[in-house]
């Protein structure tokens, strides 16, 4: 599971995120939404150990990401919006590299299965430069899923995917959650968030303005009763909106 307490990140005079606390149980999918610059990517980077929080703690699978990073990262897969691949490794070698990093003993069979699932089987020996943007994204997803992470952090997971790839990715996220993974995903695609997420965290200027299921959020804002998630999102993140957390 993921437990975040009083998380804050300061860049000079800018408070990128402030006083964020939330938890994601195994099997749960939390949607992180907010306008551009709200602090979504900073939050995900703090969760993944890429940047250190100024204040607060992040625990993944019972391990503090700052104090006990190796076991925490062993449980984690972070899939960024922009796939970062190594120029001189083939598709297959990327998976072999990840298998060794996470000590995946049955890597061959898992890799074959993932490549087939993501339609990359015929690209096993291809270099990243020979892959399209969507294929690169699929490879990054395959690398993230190879070690069956119990914590999945996804930043705009559908970027670059074709419609079939999007549908498959939605099924994959739901499937991983059903299998017991705690999932956090950030997206501007509100229908995706609505479809997959059991709870939503809406950020504005680095602070949580709403947290809970859509029903909880609407219940806390009676004026939004019967409105779509998009309307709820705009109402809560537009200037003049008040936090209800």
């Amino acid at each position: 599971m993921i437990v975040v307490r009083d998380l804050a990140k300061q860049y000079g005079t800018l408070r990128a995120i402030d006083a964020l606390s939330f938890a994601v149980q195994p099997g749960e999918v939390l949607g992180l939404v907010g306008p551009n610059g709200a602090g979504k990517t900073t939050t995900l980077r703090c969760l993944s150990g890429i940047i250190a929080p100024t204040v607060g703690t992040v625990s993944l699978g019972g391990h503090d990401i700052q104090r006990d990073p190796v076991p925490a990262k062993r449980a984690l897969a972070f899939i960024p919006d922009e796939p970062h691949l190594f120029d001189y490794l083939t598709v297959e070698e990327h998976l072999r590299f990840v298998a060794r990093l996470y000590n995946v003993v049955d890597a061959d069979s898992r890799a074959g299965q993932l490549l087939a699932e993501l339609e990359l089987s015929d690209k096993r020996t291809a270099m990243p430069e020979e892959l399209s943007r969507g294929m690169k994204q699929k490879l990054a997803i395959a690398c993230g899923l190879l070690h069956s992470p119990s914590v999945l952090v996804l930043d705009e997971p559908l970027t670059g995917l074709d419609p079939a790839g999007m549908r498959r990715m939605r099924a994959t996220i739901a499937g991983r959650a059903k299998a017991g993974a705690a999932v956090v995903l950030s997206s501007h695609l509100l229908h995706l968030v609505e479809e997959l997420c059991s709870r939503i965290l809406i950020l504005r200027h680095g602070r949580a303005v709403a947290y809970g299921s859509i029903a909880d959020i609407v219940a806390a804002n009676p004026a939004l009763q019967g409105r779509s998630l998009e309307d709820v999102f705009i109402a809560l993140t537009s200037s003049g909106a008040v936090s209800n957390q």
Binding site: G49, I50, P69, H84, D87, R100, L101, N103
Partner: protein, 581 residues
């Protein structure tokens, strides 16, 4: 170029420079950069004060000044320049000179800017780096350059030399690109540049291969003096001087002996520079003209070229060459494996062959002259190993210098910071140590077969312990290089490419920092080893073996402490600190 795009490109260059300077100044608020800046500025201040750059009475000429101002150097320098430029024509190393960054491609290539304007933009932008580089070199070298002429003349002379070299590299790259895209027709169009290249190549090789040897004859002087005398005599022949005269014109102002000598030399160098500029822009124009005349298919190819541009020239990746990796075991091995694949896949045999050409030719020559081929082979192998030890790390960059650009990925890996740093350090140190070890084993074998072999017990001790010593030394060098990249990412060129001639000054400064750090870190191991040998006084073979192993052990211990600290630095470093650089 019409005014509008020219103005936009000039604005881009000027604002980039301005913002870069501002961000550099802001970076000095961080203590590590402030301390680094104080050291570098203090060093340069000392250089300015000691060499009289600030208007004090000039310091006496240094031995370097004597060498650079000497007749032998002035005769050999044009041939050396020709040899330096030669690989640009036979390898793909020139192509990086016409590479554009991703944002430039995204913004400029679809914009209504002609290719000529793009090339001019590229040329102007590189000059900024060249000016910085020249300033550093003049400050470092002081009176060694253009002895007798004011420093500003030396600086301008050096700038002209570097700018011409860069334009030459661009020209070679454009010819290659045109040949790749258009085959024979492009070769026909560029017949003049190819003819010039062939004549110069043939001249330099024929002089070194035959004329130098025969002109020197048998001499009572040592083989090196004999060789230099022979080479100087051969290069002084009128026809050779004519062929190499453009190169002589280019180097002349940088090493002029007086202000009077500098002015005409500078005029000649500017002439060659201007010809290069015309050549580069004209070869580009010819490319456009040919494109318009070709078929629809070719036009589509040109459009694709326009979209992709000159970005990141395609390299032939030897994908079948692989290294096995078991899925189980220490995860850090995966990182070394990944970096080793990077090394073997970007390794260029042709470039290595060209690098080895001169030492091998010299070995052959000295062996032939002295009648002792084994000693010559031993000497040249050892020399090449030494060169790799000192400078190999600047070209073999499959470590943090390449991987820091992927810092986000590195930081999500389930490895401690110190383990990550150690794996990265080992990635470049181990292949270098292996190559040096092989070369030195060849040298030892050749020496044992020569007329003056080492005592066999000492030779055996040295051969057996060499891997330890070389691993220690290479780990030390790699730790420093990776440490500098990690602590000062904004001051180090990150990525697989170490930069061209425009970054020579920065590379020289880096070498100086490296040298000072290595000497500082070798004090303790050398002291411990020396103390033990003096106290115990073992037999020479034992002293050799114990000395090498003990020294290596102390160096490895130093590296271990350094990687622990660097690991903490890596854990604290945020990707934005690297991306901002």
């Amino acid at each position: 170029m019409t005014t509008a795009p020219a103005g936009a490109l000039a604005y881009l260059i000027a604002r980039t420079m301005r913002n870069r300077i501002i961000s550099m100044a802001k970076r000095l608020r961080q203590p590590r950069y402030a301390i680094g800046f104080v050291f570098v500025a203090g060093y340069f201040g000392l250089m300015v004060w000691s060499t009289g750059l600030a208007g004090r009475s000039p310091a006496p000429a240094t031995p370097a000044a004597g060498l650079l101002g000497g007749d032998t150097f002035r005769i050999i320098a044009p041939a050396a320049l020709a040899l330096f430029l030669l690989p640009y024509w036979f390898t793909d190393s020139a192509l990086l000179a016409i590479a554009f960054s991703r944002p430039e491609v995204a913004m400029l290539f679809p914009a209504p800017v002609s290719r000529r304007a793009l090339l001019l933009y590229k040329i102007v932008r590189v000059q900024v780096a060249t000016i910085i580089s020249v300033t550093i070199i003049v400050l470092l070298w002081g009176r060694g350059l253009a002895p007798g002429a004011p420093h500003w003349m030396a600086a301008i002379g050096l700038f002209t030399l570097f700018a011409t070299m860069h334009l030459h590299r661009m020209g070679a790259a454009l010819v290659q690109v045109a040949a790749i895209r258009h085959g024979r027709s492009a070769l026909k169009r560029n017949w003049l540049s190819q003819l010039v290249g062939l004549v110069v190549t043939a001249t330099v090789i024929s002089v070194i291969a035959s004329q130098g040897f025969t002109a020197a004859g048998d001499s009572p002087a040592g083989p090196l003096t004999t060789f230099l005398n022979g080479l100087t005599a051969a290069l002084s022949q009128p026809w050779v001087r004519v062929v190499l005269s453009p190169f002589a014109l280019v180097v002349a102002p940088a090493f002029a002996r007086s202000a009077t000598e500098w002015w005409p030399a500078f005029a000649g160098a500017v002439g060659v520079l201007a010809l290069h500029l015309v050549w580069v822009l004209r070869s580009h124009a010819a490319f456009e003209e040919a494109a318009a005349e070709q078929s629809t298919k070719l036009h589509a190819m040109i459009e694709q070229f326009r979209k992709r541009g000159f970005v990141e020239p395609e390299r032939k990746i030897k994908r079948r060459l692989t290294i096995p990796l078991a899925p189980g075991g220490h995860p850090a091995v995966a990182l070394v494996w990944k970096n080793s694949l990077n090394f073997v896949r970007t390794f260029r045999p042709l470039q290595l062959a060209m690098m080895l050409l001169v030492p091998l030719a010299a070995a052959g020559y000295f062996g032939w002259k002295s009648g002792d081929v084994h000693t010559a082979v031993a000497g040249i192998s050892a020399l090449f190993a030494l060169i790799l030890l000192v400078a190999g790390g600047t070209s073999v960059r499959n470590d943090l210098r390449a991987d820091l650009l992927n810092l986000s990925s590195l930081k999500t890996m389930p490895l401690r910071g110190s383990t990550l740093v150690l794996a990265e350090v080992a990635s470049s140190a181990l292949p270098l140590a292996a190559i040096q070890c092989l070369l030195l084993w060849v040298a030892a074998l050749a020496l044992q077969m020569s007329r003056t072999p080492m005592p066999s017990s000492e030779a055996l001790a040295l051969v057996a312990t060499l891997p330890f010593g070389l691993i220690g030394l290479n780990l030390l060098g790699s730790t420093i290089r990776n440490g500098v990249a990690l602590v000062f990412p904004a001051w180090v060129r990150l990525g697989a490419d170490g930069g061209g001639i425009e970054t020579a000054g920065q590379a020289m400064l880096g070498m100086l920092v490296m040298f000072v750090a290595v000497v500082g870190l070798l004090v303790v191991p050398a002291g411990v080893t020396l103390a033990l040998v003096l106290l115990v006084r073992p037999p020479p073979a034992v002293a050799t073996a114990v000395g090498v192993v003990l020294g290596a052990a102390v160096v490895v211990a130093e590296c271990h402490v350094a990687t622990l600290w660097l690991g903490r630095v890596l854990e604290r470093t945020e990707p934005s600190a690297v991306a901002a650089s």
